[in-house]
Amino acid sequence: MTTVINVPPSLDDQTFEQVLEQLAPVPPDEKILVDARHCRWASPYGLTALLTLAQTRAERPAFAAPETEDTVGYWARTDFFKYAEELYDLHGTVPKRTGGDSRVLLEVTPVAKSEDVHEVVERIQAKAQQIISTELSLDAKATVGFAMTLSEICQNIVEHAGRGGWVAVQAYTWKKRLGRRVVQIAVCDAGIGFRNSLEGAPGRVRDDRWDDAAALEAAVIRGVSRFRDPGRGQGLSGVRRYCGRWEGKLSIRSGTARIALVPKWDEDVPLEENLPPFPGAQVQVTIPERAASKP
């Protein structure tokens, strides 16, 4: 039997939860068809999370590509299908990638080892400079922090996930929530997740409240790391500072919980618990265009 998992028309970090809700009752060894035929748009989070989803399945899943030419063409230009065809049985017409897209700052890129992070950072730098200072009207200093942020989030995969994941970076106008241009980084993996990673932390005090939410709070808010080295845990702290400085948003989902550093322009909740389970960690950073100052 094949269970059909419908992809919503607009796929981002929020609507991906609808995908996971459908997936939750389906055993991992059961065949699924991820039906994206009616999907019109996906954020980098949506694209990388779809690849991650396939990694969680014991039985190779099927994938129905978007029917709209624009959508499927854009997904091809992000290199989504390049990796999707390794993980899914693809259905529908999938065009070959032709040329690049100015909205794509970094195509969907696998991250598994330290060299991948070098490659990602080198590739993003020239484009990031252009988009951050010109399109987002942010200080040039934001460019360096952006590359550092990207590097640190990708390293979480290398250091903690236990298996490879994906990163993608796009710029677009976020009409629905913000009405401004944004740059969005998404880094998703289907690895061991924050809770499992921190369970190996030295000196961890076992208490009654130990779950995915507690693990996320420990890592993101208190900078706890599974390594004894006192220099560890600075990466996510740096990402938090960067987001705070440029009114950005950081959200991390792991297991059944999701933590977010919510800027003024967003109405998200800081912590969500009891979400449908999903392995690994899914990180999103959103940096918005500087708001025009009022006259």
Binding site: S114, E115, V117, H118, E119, V121, E122, Q125, K141, V144, G145, A147, M148, S151, E152, Q155, V158, E159, P230, G231, R232, Q234, G235, S237, G238, R241
Partner: protein, 186 residues
């Protein structure tokens, strides 16, 4: 004086030699190991210039591995040898990560800029005053500085010895010598 170009070390260290960014912990560990290897050939007391001019950017993990761990090792009670560091070619593109790790570990370092050598990081006001006084003199006895900064000689000596243990000034017999002033070769 040793001069280590971190851009060159980076390209020798990572498998592809086109990278210009100091990122990731494994890269930081490899770069630090290479620096220590180069320093092993040095004399008992050395001043090493770590040159960032050809490094585009550094992330927190790499700053922790390269800078914090190097300073912690050589500011330890039992360092491999008496090593001092002067950081050259640092820009805002490096500074954010470096500042963060210095604060995290309570470290300070000497950087060379166009207008001279400065000390940055975690220092008490007393340490900073003493360091500036040594810099003005190039080299000085504790007694020379006592009147200048309004402290008794034993107090200023304690402060200078603290700066020496942190490898922010050199100590040659009874004299304290500023880093980067040329006097360290004496």
């Amino acid at each position: 004086m040793n001069h280590i170009d971190l851009g060159t070390v980076l390209r020798q260290t990572v498998s592809a030699n086109l990278y210009s960014n100091l990122v990731t912990r494994p890269t930081g560990q490899a770069v630090r190991n290479q620096i220590e290897l180069l320093m092993r050939e040095a004399h008992e007391r050395t001043l090493t210039v770590l040159d960032f001019s050809h490094v585009s950017m550094m992330d927190f993990s790499c700053a922790d591995e390269v800078i914090a761990k190097l300073l912690l090792r050589y500011c330890d009670e039992n360092p491999p040898h008496e090593a001092y560091f002067l950081f050259r070619g640092m820009t805002d593109d490096h500074w954010e990560a470096i500042e963060t790790v210095l604060e995290r570990h309570g470290l300070a370092l000497a950087i060379e800029q166009e207008d001279g050598v400065h000390v940055v990081g975690v220092l008490s006001e007393r340490e900073r005053r003493a360091w500036e006084a040594v810099k003005r003199h190039g080299r000085a006895l504790a007694a020379d500085l006592a009147g200048e900064i309004g402290e008794e000689e034993p107090e200023i000596r304690d402060t200078l010895d603290g700066l020496w243990r942190r490898r922010l000034v050199m100590r040659l017999n009874e004299e304290y010598v500023a880093l980067g002033g040329g006097a360290e070769r004496g």
